[in-house]
């Protein structure tokens, strides 16, 4: 420990800045799943339990994760999957199929994609053979053959779930939910959507087959919590190589967050939206102003970043700025 401290203490400032940029950018650009989902522990527990039951006990389930954009739906799912995969039993068994409503715009493509991701026997390389109807029959047959205790559970993740509801006859949804409601291969269908009224989009026979579990991700964030989050997002982790630098950085961040003007700016942001993405956008702009010559974030940086966030692109053009 002391060795590392000594070694790290002498890290040049430039290197420290590079490290900081890297760590924080990963955080803001959501390249890394946070270790602990903030503010959604209950939902995390619920979803984890649900998927675990599918993976371990072979119980079929279906669930919708609903929340406004930027509320952390995908982040939640990723966290859950990461935690789930830590278990050996799950790791070996669970098959995953990821679909996105924006990519799989109709059932034909979706079916091919499912078949491909499950690598069933009518797949060679990346090619899926057979016509649409053959594929459907094939997939259903495959799912039907399995049973609760012997076949590997399959997790279907449907991103932009509401778009799947616009497919013709909702064939895919019907069949997935039907499988989840019958004694076939255990599957878990997880839908991610930002539409609160998504259930009203479903046909009634599809709706009846859906288990009506919804996990709502609605952040009831208050401003102090928001402020706290800004601070944690900007703080460096404890295992940062140069401890001195980290301490300095963290204390400067704390100071910035307590600054009156910064609080006002953040309050304004908070009022217009609470989601993670806008916040991360703002912080990213702040971070980009950090350099070797100016190794900390100053209140002025936050103000400038906020100004850029709120600036009207059209007005700027008319003014001839930038």
């Amino acid at each position: 420990m002391s060795k590392r401290k000594v070694g790290a203490a002498h890290m040049p400032v430039g290197e420290c800045i590079t490290q900081v940029q890297e760590i924080l950018r990963q955080r803001f650009c959501r390249q890394r799943v946070p270790d602990r989902p903030g503010g959604v522990e209950a939902q995390h527990k619920h979803l984890l339990g649900l998927l675990k039951r599918t993976a371990v006990h072979g119980e079929s389930n279906s669930v919708l994760i609903v929340g406004p954009r930027g509320a952390g739906k995908t982040m939640l799912l990723k966290c859950v999957l990461r935690d789930l995969m830590e278990e050996k039993e799950v790791q070996k068994n669970l098959l995953q199929v990821h679909l996105n409503g924006l990519l799989q715009t109709d059932d034909r493509i979706a079916l091919k994609e499912i078949t491909r991701q499950l690598s069933l026997e009518n797949v060679v390389g990346d090619k899926v053979f057979g016509s649409f109807s053959e594929n459907l029959v094939f997939l259903l047959e495959a799912l039907k053959k399995g049973d609760r205790s012997s076949s590997r559970p399959v997790l279907f993740v449907l991103d932009e779930f509401d778009l799947f509801a616009h497919h013709k006859n909702q064939t895919l949804l019907y069949n997935l939910f039907d499988v989840s409601q019958s004694a076939q291969t255990p599957i878990a269908v997880v839908g991610l959507t930002c539409r609160l009224d998504v259930l009203e989009l479903l046909e009634k026979r599809v709706k009846s087959r859906f288990s009506h579990r919804q996990i709502h991700l609605l952040s009831s964030l208050t401003f102090p919590q928001y402020l706290e989050r800004v601070q944690t997002q900007l703080s460096l982790p404890d295992d940062f190589p140069d401890e001195n630098f980290a301490q300095n950085w963290n204390s400067s961040i704390k100071a910035v967050c307590e600054d009156k003007s910064v609080r006002d700016v953040l309050q304004r942001h908070f009022n217009s939206s609470k989601d993670h993405r806008t916040m991360n956008m703002l912080l990213m702009l702040c971070l980009s102003r950090v350099s070797v010559s100016k190794p900390t974030i100053k209140p002025a940086d936050v103000l400038e970043a906020s100004r850029m966030c709120f600036s009207d692109a059209k007005a700027n053009m008319l003014h001839g700025e930038k």
Binding site: G49, V56, H57, E59, P68, K92, N93, L95, L118, L120, E121, N122, V124, K127, F129, G130, S131, F132, S133, E134, L136, V137, L139, L140, E141, A142, L143, K145, G146, R148, S150, S151, R152, P153, N169, T171, D178, S180, A183, T185, C194, R195, L196, D197, K204, R205, K207, S208, R209, R213, Q214, H216, L218, S219, S220, F270, N271, S272, S273, K274
Partner: protein, 906 residues
């Protein structure tokens, strides 16, 4: 593919001999055998009592197998009837029941049918031809590669179970087998019961004096290859047949099939020839090849028969000799050129051949002629094997099936050790001498050519020992003629051959399919059109050729799923919708109605339609399935006749017309395109069939089968009205008035008025359902159950929802188990939580959680609504209230948009 169009041939059926008994009162006389003759052809087929025959089935590819028990007719002779004992083909046994077999059924396996409910009296007109049936002991393996033409009986099938069958039941009485009745000139010299189809082949090639014992042995299928010491003469025959076959341009499909078979079995003609002369090397493949060859001959014979009259006999026999020679020469060319010279002289086609309009015809006919001349002891012996002028497909099919006889013949030939090569000539001659036929001149020429061939073959034989080692020789060498045949055929043929012999073929095939030039489906189509092209394919294990063969399955897990550990988990599994309850409570009345409807239809052997409606989750499909389970059970214990149950679901198909495909596949296992399937089904349901089980068809989500012309629905409801269909259609949909709403009159009228509607469950019923599912697993408090049932009944009456809520409640209970006050049972509190989670709308929470700006905007909208008294406002107006934001009634975010929409209803 060129088809030889043949005129319709009328079949003439005659009794042979005197009636063995005559019932004076009914004026029905019984006979011992029946002669079937095709007009214009000198040959006849004799059907004896005790013999196995094929009877016209529902389609040409699936004839029925039966054993003749009694032949009888009325005095006038207009009606000829046959009483039969049926056998079931594998395809006739329902797929679900095949599982009882505990093994893969052999493709040529048939079952002694002991089931009830089938008419064992058929018209003699429907007899196709005799067939060879062998009895095997229960434990005996199927002969491998097996005789492609025999059918094997191991077990009996009474529509419920398979039992071992006694060989005495199956094997025909030896009596008819051993009585060739030489006294009757028009009858074939030998008509062994099982070998009758072969009679032509037998007669043709076979021995001048048929030895009854040999015949019988052949008939019974006791082929002893070891005994067979083939003489050079035999070899000559085989070679001749082979070369003839390969050299002539039979129809492309035939060449193809031969080629494929050769490739598969790796028993090419050349080696055959070689091996034939050395008895030690003899193996089963001999007979296979022989039968194959003969097959081909048989097929072409029909054409010959027609052709004979028109084409001058002599040229014919001469002309055809050439091709065989060519072929054999080619095989041996590497070793010895001498036969070449011999044959070159003959290579030029005979002048008379030019007169023949079709070269194909010529090729075939000479061959035919030659063969017939060579082997036939009497002209009358030629039993007309192709009695029907049938379309080509059928023809080919039969040809293949007909191989039984030839096979037998082959074995017989092999068994006849006395006949030496030298005897061959005599043996040919001898039958001719006693019988003076008008074609004796022809025969002489034939003999001449034959002897020449023999010479050539004997030359070949000498080289043979050297040759036999080289594997290349084994490969079938396609003759020039084949090469000339239409390129597409050729290509396909080659591909096929390659596929069968090559492991890599799968890839190749797939590549091919992906190329788009020939999709797997089109492939399928061709093969269905000529389904018996490769009868042997099933016998040899071949690699899956197309993605179609891929088995749909999800890989199985490494460790079995964990068993429930506590009461709550146990309850959760029982409450899952997927678990099948022991009984279905609360639908007793509906169950009874459907049960009696279907039962009565099955018992009467009639058809009918029923329409079942009800909101989702009211147990429609479950009830029908329960009915089917009970009926199936009743059928198993013999209370009602057996039946098929097929289920299709409108949601599980991509197009309404796929319904045909799925029905056909579930009914018969065939794959076809939608149009073809529709045609096949139409035929199946409209044609009478002597033994057909009732079919119960469940059509779920009927409304999705709607098409503009409604022809799918029309057909589905029309088939049950056919007299012979025996089809019961149960349809399920959500809408009560679907027939009135979407169906045109003629469809609605066919659907009929047998309707049933499932009411949503009342709270008592829901409670009962949960209790019966839990089945004494004590996990819920009484009150909690009642609360759930009442809530759900009030909202939708959807049992699925009810079960889901209960399941969720157990989860909540489990999570809160740490609470010391918890009793471990699911209480009111947990159920309330679950209900709230599922029924409460999230809109209020969503608005509460919205950011300040969003809330202000919503407030502005509401204020504007109040001011206007209308639930609509332009953005301008809203903006004037609150100077923010951009568009009308829809904000930056769809999320907010939803909130506003919702707000309008608040």
């Amino acid at each position: 593919m060129k088809y030889f169009t043949r005129p319709k041939i009328r079949r003439v059926l005659q009794w042979r001999g005197e009636p063995i008994s005559l019932n004076r009162r009914t004026k029905i006389s019984e006979y011992e055998s029946l002669v079937i003759r095709v007009e214009g052809l000198p040959r006849t087929t004799v059907i004896n009592v005790g013999q196995h025959i094929l009877i016209e089935g529902e389609d040409e590819e699936n004839p029925y197998v039966a054993k003749v028990l009694r032949l009888f007719g009325d005095e006038s002779g207009t009606q000829k009837k046959v009483t039969v004992q049926w056998y079931s083909m594998v395809s006739e046994v329902p797929l679900s029941k095949l599982k009882l077999l505990g093994r893969e059924p052999h493709p040529q396996e048939i079952f002694y049918y002991q089931g009830p409910n089938c008419d064992d009296e058929v018209s003699a007109e429907s007899i196709l031809r005799p067939v060879k049936v062998k009895h095997l002991d229960g434990s005996a393996p199927f002969p491998d590669p097996g005789d492609p033409d025999s059918l094997y009986v191991k077990l009996s099938w009474d529509s419920k179970t398979f039992k071992v069958v006694d060989s005495a039941l199956v094997n025909p009485d030896p009596a008819p087998a051993s009585c060739p009745k030489p006294s009757l000139p028009p009858s074939p010299p030998c008509s062994p019961p099982a070998a009758a189809p072969a009679s032509r082949g037998l007669a043709r090639r076979a021995l001048p004096t048929p030895d009854p014992s040999v015949m019988r042995r052949a008939a019974l299928g006791e082929v002893r290859y070891s005994r067979a010491s083939a003489s050079a003469g035999k070899a000559c025959y085989a070679a001749e047949a082979e070369s003839l076959h390969s050299a002539t341009k039979l129809s492309a499909s035939k060449c193809l099939s031969a080629k494929r078979r050769n490739a598969m079995e790796r028993t090419p003609g050349v080696r055959k020839k070689l091996e034939l002369c050395s008895p030690e090397k003899k193996s089963m493949s001999h007979t296979d090849v022989l039968s194959q060859l003969l097959d081909e001959d048989l097929e072409s014979e029909g054409m010959l028969a027609q052709h004979l009259s028109s084409s001058p006999p002599r040229t014919l026999s001469l002309g055809h000799r050439l091709t065989p020679l060519k072929k054999s020469r080619r095989a041996s060319a590497a070793q010895d050129a001498s036969p070449l010279k011999e044959s070159t002289g003959m290579d030029s086609p005979p002048p008379s051949a030019a007169e023949d309009s079709s070269r194909e015809l010529l090729d075939k006919s000479p061959q035919q002629g030659g063969l017939v001349e060579a082997g036939l002891p009497t002209s009358s012996v030629k039993t007309p094997r192709r009695r029907n002028a049938t379309p080509r497909g059928k023809y080919a099919t039969r040809g293949q099936k007909a191989s039984t006889p030839s096979r037998q013949k082959g074995s017989k030939v092999l068994k006849e050790p006395a006949l030496g090569a030298l005897a061959e000539v005599d043996h040919e001659d001898s039958p001719m001498l006693p019988v003076t036929t008008p074609r004796s001149s022809k025969r002489k020429s034939a003999r001449l050519v034959l002897s020449r061939i023999k010479v050539q073959l004997s030359l070949l034989e000498n080289q043979q020992d050297r040759d036999s080692d080289s594997e290349e020789e084994d490969d079938f060498v396609p003759s020039k003629k084949e090469l000339q045949s239409s390129s597409e055929e050729e290509e396909e043929g080659e591909e096929e051959a390659g596929l069968d012999s090559d492991e890599d073929v799968v890839v190749k095939k797939r590549r091919h399919a992906s190329a788009g030039s020939r999709t797997p489906r089109s492939k399928q189509k061709t093969s269905t059109r000529t389904p018996r092209k490769t009868p042997n394919r099933k016998v040899t294990p071949s690699t899956p050729r197309t993605p179609h063969r891929a088995t749909p399955s999800i890989p199985s897990r490494s460790r079995p799923a964990r068993q429930p550990a506590n009461v709550l988990e146990e309850a959760r599994i029982r409450l899952h919708v997927s678990s099948v309850p022991e009984s279905l409570p609360c639908r007793e009345q509906e169950f009874q109605d459907i049960y009696s409807f279907v039962e009565s239809k099955i018992i009467d052997g009639t058809g009918g339609c029923m329409y079942i409606s009800g909101v989702p989750g009211t147990g429609k499909t479950a009830t029908v399935h329960e009915v089917m389970r009970c009926l199936q059970h009743a059928a198993d214990v013999d209370e009602i006749p057996p039946f098929h149950f097929i289920e299709i679901n409108g949601m599980k198909m991509t197009d309404p017309h796929q319904a045909y495909v799925q029905i056909l596949q579930k009914l018969t296992g065939q794959k076809a395109t939608a149009d073809h399937a529709a045609a096949l089904l139409e035929k199946r349901f409209s044609n009478p069939a002597p033994k057909r089980e009732s079919t119960v068809l469940l059509v779920d989500e009927l409304d999705l089968l709607w098409t503009r012309k409604q022809n799918v629905m029309y057909n589905l409801f029309d088939w049950p009205t056919r007299r012979h269909a025996r089809l019961v259609v149960l349809t399920i949909a959500n809408t009560m008035d679907l027939p009135e709403r979407i169906m045109i009159n003629r469809v609605a009228s066919r659907l009929g008025l047998t309707r049933m509607s499932f009411q949503p469950y009342s709270f008592k019923q829901l409670q009962q359902i949960i209790t019966s599912r839990l089945n004494k697993v004590k996990a819920f408090e009484e009150d909690a159950l009642q609360l759930v049932s009442r809530k759900v009944a009030a909202l939708s009456g959807d049992a699925r929802r009810c079960l889901d809520i209960c399941r969720r409640a157990t989860e909540i209970c489990e999570h809160s188990a740490s609470d010391p006050s918890a009793t471990g049972l699911v209480g009111m509190g947990h159920v309330m939580d679950a209900l709230n989670e599922m029924f409460s709308s999230a809109y209020i929470t969503a608005i509460k959680c919205a950011s300040v700006q969003e809330q202000i905007f919503l407030r502005a909208v509401i204020a504007e609504f109040r001011r206007l008294g209308l639930e609509e406002a332009t953005f301008q107006q809203v903006k004037s209230r609150r100077t923010e934001r951009r568009r009308r009634r829809s904000c930056r975010r769809s999320f907010l948009h939803e909130s506003i929409d919702r707000l309008k209803f608040i």
